[in-house]
């Protein structure tokens, strides 16, 4: 893995004019977010703000609503009340979230969810269909991304021939293929061994510190508590701060490339 993230990972300027919405200054702004399943309010007025380039982790017991929060942020589910603004986009008012999912966020799942019959490179390229990039550009970017996650030598391998950690790193490369400003990860180390999990946490930290990506992960993994700027706890439908690391222990985020 190279020491520093190259420009290919750094965000370009916003691709399109955005409607001004409240909370547009923050990378992620959640207000009064409520989601009920039947009579049970899994999220009960959640408030959450992430500054651009911040790395936060949300912990909490099983069933506390961590994945639900992630699904709402990724526009995979609809909130019952409240607002979510990510990268200036009011997610709760999106009727067609395709562009949001493609350009504004990157999504990493607990299971890698790669297409088993495609190579690592092709899996990364899948995220770039529908962009303005030509085939050669998509391929070059996929190779660079695999290089950056330490899998440059395995670009032509298919997921079944890779370890769990390698698959997850391919999934992370896919998630950042379109240079999203915000990366959402749902238990990304949940199915990995210790070494692989440590590598993934380190990769998130590098994405945040070197490429200025805002990272929000939900995880039980204590490694995230060390790597993240902020640790939050989700319990009884509310998010509360659990721990904040001293800024001196964290590398300064690089400004986004112009």
């Amino acid at each position: 893995m190279s020491d520093r993230m190259p420009a290919i990972l750094r965000r370009s300027e916003p691709r399109r004019a955005r409607r001004h919405v409240e909370g547009a200054g923050a990378a992620v702004s959640v207000r009064g977010l409520t989601k009920c399943f039947g009579e049970t309010a899994v999220l009960d007025g959640v408030d959450l703000d992430l500054a651009p380039g911040e790395f936060a982790v949300v912990t909490g017991p099983s069933g506390s609503g961590k994945s639900t929060l992630m699904h709402l942020l990724a526009a995979l589910d609809h909130a019952d009340a409240g607002t979510i603004v990510v990268n200036g986009v009011d997610v709760t008012r999106l009727h067609q979230p395709t562009r949001y999912r493609r350009f504004d966020i990157g999504l990493v799942f607990q299971l890698h969810n790669l297409v088993p019959r495609l190579t690592a490179e092709q899996n990364v390229m899948m995220a770039m269909f529908g962009t303005h990039l030509a085939r050669t550009e998509r391929r070059a970017r996929a190779r660079h991304l695999l290089d950056e996650v330490g899998l440059g030598h395995r670009w032509d391998h298919k997921p079944p021939t890779m370890s769990g950690g390698e698959r997850q790193r391919v999934a992370i490369a896919r998630a950042i293929a379109n240079r999203p400003p915000v990366l959402l990860a749902d238990e990304p180390t949940g199915s990995l061994d210790d070494d692989s999990a440590a590598g993934v946490v380190e990769l998130f930290a590098r994405l945040q510190s070197e490429a200025g990506v805002t990272v929000l992960a939900v995880s039980h993994d204590p490694r995230f508590n060390v790597g993240a700027d902020r640790v939050l706890r989700l319990a009884q439908g509310r998010v509360t701060p659990l721990d904040v690391q001293a800024p001196a222990t964290r590398p300064e985020p690089e400004p986004a490339a112009p």
């Binding site: 995979l76 395709t98 999912r101 269909f129 998509r138």
Partner: protein, 372 residues
């Protein structure tokens, strides 16, 4: 990897299933091609009878089960010749007879030698039969070659002995497989003295075809003038039935093919629900998911169509050599049959894969991601 490359990759990843589906489409396309060629060929053969003779139009008895069962009095043919605008009207008796096991349906034409030129007959070798001869016959050069007959050879049919006096060709290929007799001889053999099967009308230059047809239709209400395939049904419903059989066969083939594609696409959909959920969650639009599923079905269908075209061609070749169809069935390969096969493949792919494609595109990504 391009989007088309991805489609091809996905098809190739399930080779056996794709091959089986393509096989179903191929069988259906083969049926469409074979039925289409058979239908157009039989139509061509049927209407070819009417086109023999350089006539402006033909005349047959109305509403017969088979045009060869049409009966027209020679007197009516003579009267037609006197209708204003008619230059000449000639009558021909046409009968089907078995020659041998390999040639069970030889078309015999009874025609006066004086009418041969107007009938488009060109003698290639030998001479014509005498007008009232009862032992002379001429052969079209195609059937002569098939039967290994030359001028001067004996020719036996239906227990009657003849000698070949000449070989001829006509203006339509169909006529080259016929056998021609003096009219009275054929009338005598079939006990239809004074009767012919079809009339062939040639107009004076500049005469209105429509007006003359109307005049003949009015004067001879038991007869029907036939200009082409469209009018054929006035005399004979066979072509309508053949077309209906072709349409029915085509629909049946389409149902088989669509079922095959639908089955494959649905299986593929259920296997890949999670994959579709991932694609939607990483920013694929619904249209792109639909395009992927339809594209995969289209590739399989087109592969099937190509194989089906070849199989159809092979089936036609087999049919051509069936003794029951020899002499009657001359394959006519129309471009429209092949383009129709391609449309068929497109239609099959679209109809077979539309439902799975729409389900894949409109399924909640979250629900899809929860599937094992």
């Amino acid at each position: 990897m391009t989007f088309l490359g991805l489609i091809w990759h996905n098809v190739a990843a399930r080779r056996l299933r794709a091959a089986l589906t393509a096989g179903a489409v191929a069988i259906a396309v083969m049926a469409v091609v074979a039925l289409g060629v058979l239908t157009s060929s039989l139509k061509a053969s049927a209407t070819g009878i009417l086109q023999v003779g350089n006539a402006d139009f033909s005349v047959a008895q109305k509403h017969v089960d088979n045009i060869l069962n049409s009966t027209i009095a020679e007197g009516d043919i003579a009267a037609m010749g006197k209708v204003p605008g008619v230059q000449a009207a000639i009558g021909a008796l046409i009968e089907l007879e078995k020659y041998d096991a390999a040639h069970p349906g030889v078309i015999q034409v009874g025609l006066d030698p004086a009418a041969q030129r107007r009938f488009g007959v060109v003698i290639l070798e030998g001479r014509s039969y005498a007008p009232r001869s009862n032992d002379e016959v001429m052969l079209g050069y195609v059937i002569a070659s098939a039967l290994h007959k030359r001028v001067g050879d004996p020719f036996v049919i239906d227990g009657h002995h003849y000698r070949v006096t000449g070989l001829y060709r006509t203006n339509v290929s169909f006529g080259n497989s016929t056998v021609m007799f003096p009219l009275p001889e054929l009338q005598g053999r079939y006990q239809v003295a004074g009767q012919v099967t079809l009339g062939f009308v040639k107009l004076v230059p500049g005469a209105s075809k429509q007006a003359v047809r109307q005049a003949i239709d009015q004067r001879f209400p038991q007869l029907a003038t036939i200009l082409g395939e469209k009018d054929y049904g006035r005399a004979d419903q066979t072509l309508v039935l053949i077309s209906a059989a072709n349409t029915g066969g085509g629909i049946l083939a389409a149902v088989i093919a669509i079922s095959g594609v639908l089955n494959t696409s649905l299986l593929s959909f259920f296997e890949r629900i999670r994959e579709f959920g991932v694609l939607r969650s990483i920013g694929w639009s619904r249209q792109r998911v639909i395009a992927l599923v339809l594209g995969e079905a289209l590739v399989v269908s087109l592969l099937g169509a190509l194989v089906g075209l070849f199989l159809g061609w092979a089936a036609i070749n087999v049919l051509q050599h069936l003794s029951q169809l020899r002499g009657v069935f001359h394959p006519v390969y129309e471009a429209s049959i092949f383009s129709r096969s391609l449309y068929f493949a497109f239609g099959v792919a679209f109809l077979g894969a539309l439902y799975p494609a729409v389900r894949a595109a409109f399924m909640s990504p979250l629900e899809a991601l929860r599937r094992e």
